[in-house]
Symmetry: C2
Amino acid sequence: MSNSDETARRAPVPLAQCGAALALDIVPDRWSWLILRQLMYSVGRFADIQADIGIPKSVLAARLSALVEHGVAERRPYRDGTARTRHAYVLTRKGRDLVPVVLALMHWGDAHLKGGQSALALTDRDTGAPVRVALTTDDAALELRRLSYRPIWNEDG
Amino acid sequence: MSNSDETARRAPVPLAQCGAALALDIVPDRWSWLILRQLMYSVGRFADIQADIGIPKSVLAARLSALVEHGVAERRPYRDGTARTRHAYVLTRKGRDLVPVVLALMHWGDAHLKGGQSALALTDRDTGAPVRVALTTDDAALELRRLSYRPIWNEDG
DNA sequence: TCCCTTAGGTTCGGATCGCAAACCCACCTC
DNA sequence: GAGGTGGGTTTGCGATCCGAACCTAAGGGA
């Protein structure tokens, strides 16, 4: 990003009006992002999230209730066959709209920390074309519901 | 994101191979993201970053050296006219590639926490068309250097 | 009926981290 | 050589995070 390439003394937008700064009050730390990642993959049960990312229970409980509080996720009762009622956390619309941010972060990590080796292929559900999160014009943007993903198997797993 | 809309028990990609998880080791907290925001805007001097986002000096020093350590930013001596040599932190290529992530986060915050009121207009430097960070096919993605921004003035600033 | 199991948390010290304020020092100007 | 300024480091304390232990409500079985 460059308007003039010189050193600026102040950001053009004050922090209090910056969407990114406000967003960081809702997803402030590593654990929150990792929880979002799990919810993105529809891993919504408390114990499953915990097992997958190794978060302490007390922290998970606190983060999940904050995400619910902020309207990013909701706690939904659900039944799997004959078993008793269970609960799963699922993303709301607001939460689903955060998915591109997670994918952008993943793309960066794959490109710069894994030598370009992605572990997940993203495609357009309708056309099968590969997609990613990038700078684009409005008319070339795909709706989230057209996104499909498939894990890529590689040897060091 | 949905492949099947049922509840999954595990993420399709283990954490150790997830680019997002690796990225979160480099940008783990709120302050790191806010510092990146400043660097994105070319606000690179220690005291300026500190004044703009209100971060404690000790934390800023620690975060900046971590970002340099990870190759996201570099410390560059620079001269402004007759004054003594100063230092500014500037994004490396690796760091510039994180800009879309910050913009995606900003977009989400503007849309969901500010009622759609953006404080920054992003345009294609070549065509003037409005741009944003979104899901798209590779061929419709714009290179970062084509990005231009302009702050939007609004009444509650 | 009473007990056992499991999901989904809550509570509790101890270790770590963040914060503000004080201090430091090299460089530059007067 | 006295003072100012940029760019930090140190210090002490309060807030968070952590792992382990504990708790509770809902089924199921004897």
